[in-house]
Symmetry: C2
Subunit: 136 residues, 2 copies
C-alpha cells in the first residue's frame, strides 16, 4: 500500500501500530473515531493505547495519507485519502449511518469562490445531515 511507503519518508519508522492503523483506515469505507480505530485494532489483536493512535493519526495527517472530518458530535474522525476519490458524506442523525457522496462539477463553487474572496483555499468540508431510509 502506498501509505506504508509514504510513512518511511524522512526516516519515520514502520512500526506495528502504524502499519495496523494505516491498514484499518485504508480498508474502512467511512471515517473512524479514535475509539473506533481502537476497537478495530483489538479485533486484529493489536494492542495499543489511545495516545499512540492519536500520534499515528497526527503523523498520517501530516503525510496527507488521511484527512480529518467532523460530524458535529465533538469527535474527530479520520479517513484514508485515496486518489480520484474526493467525496463527501451524508450522516443519519438518528442511527449515525454514513454514506459517501460524489459530485460531478464540484469546482463550480470553487470558481465562484475565486471571484468572491481573496482567500487562498486549501480544502473544504461538506457534509449533509438527515435521516436514512431505515430511520424515517
Amino acid at each position: 500500500m502506498k501509505t506504508i511507503a509514504v510513512i518511511k519518508q524522512r526516516g519515520n519508522r514502520l512500526t506495528k501500530p502504524r502499519k495496523a492503523i494505516s491498514t484499518i483506515l485504508l480498508q474502512t469505507k467511512f471515517p473512524l473515531t479514535i475509539k473506533e480505530i481502537m476497537n478495530q485494532l483489538k479485533k486484529n489483536d493489536v494492542y495499543t493505547d489511545t495516545v499512540s493512535i492519536y500520534r499515528t493519526v497526527k503523523l498520517l495527517l501530516n503525510l496527507r495519507c488521511i484527512q480529518q472530518i467532523e460530524f458535529g458530535d465533538g469527535k474527530k474522525r479520520f479517513e484514508a485519502v485515496k486518489e480520484n476519490n474526493h467525496h463527501h458524506h451524508i450522516i443519519c442523525d438518528k442511527c449515525g449511518k454514513v454514506e459517501e457522496i460524489f459530485f460531478k462539477d464540484e469546482n463550480y463553487f470553487a470558481l465562484q469562490l475565486k471571484k468572491k474572496t481573496q482567500y487562498k483555499i486549501h480544502r473544504h468540508s461538506l457534509e449533509f445531515f438527515g435521516l436514512c431510509q431505515n430511520c424515517y
Copy 2:
C-alpha cells in the same frame, strides 16, 4: 428581536443571561465559541458561568434561533440564524479570521443529491479553509 419572542414560547423564561447571549449572537457576524460568548458577556458586565451558556445555547439550538458550526479545532461555535441569510464560511488556517460566503445556486447540489440518495436531508455544512490575504 425575534429571538426574544421565540424564547418565551412554551413558557421559557426570559432571564438576563438568555437575553444577553441572544443579543450577542445576533450582533456578531461570525460564529462564537462558548469562551468567546463568555468574554462578550463579561464586556457587557453580565456575569454567568460556562454551564449556563451551554444550557442557553442548547435551548436556542432547539428553538432554531441559532445553529452550530465546527471549524475542526474541537470547539463548537454558535451563530444566529437569520432570515434570507443562508451562508457558509471561509476560515484562515493561520489567524482564524472568518468570512461569510454566499452562493447563488446552492440547491444545484441538493437536486443532485435527491437523485443519488434516499436520505431525507435536513441540513448541511460547508466550510472552506485556507489562508487570508494577510497570512500568505
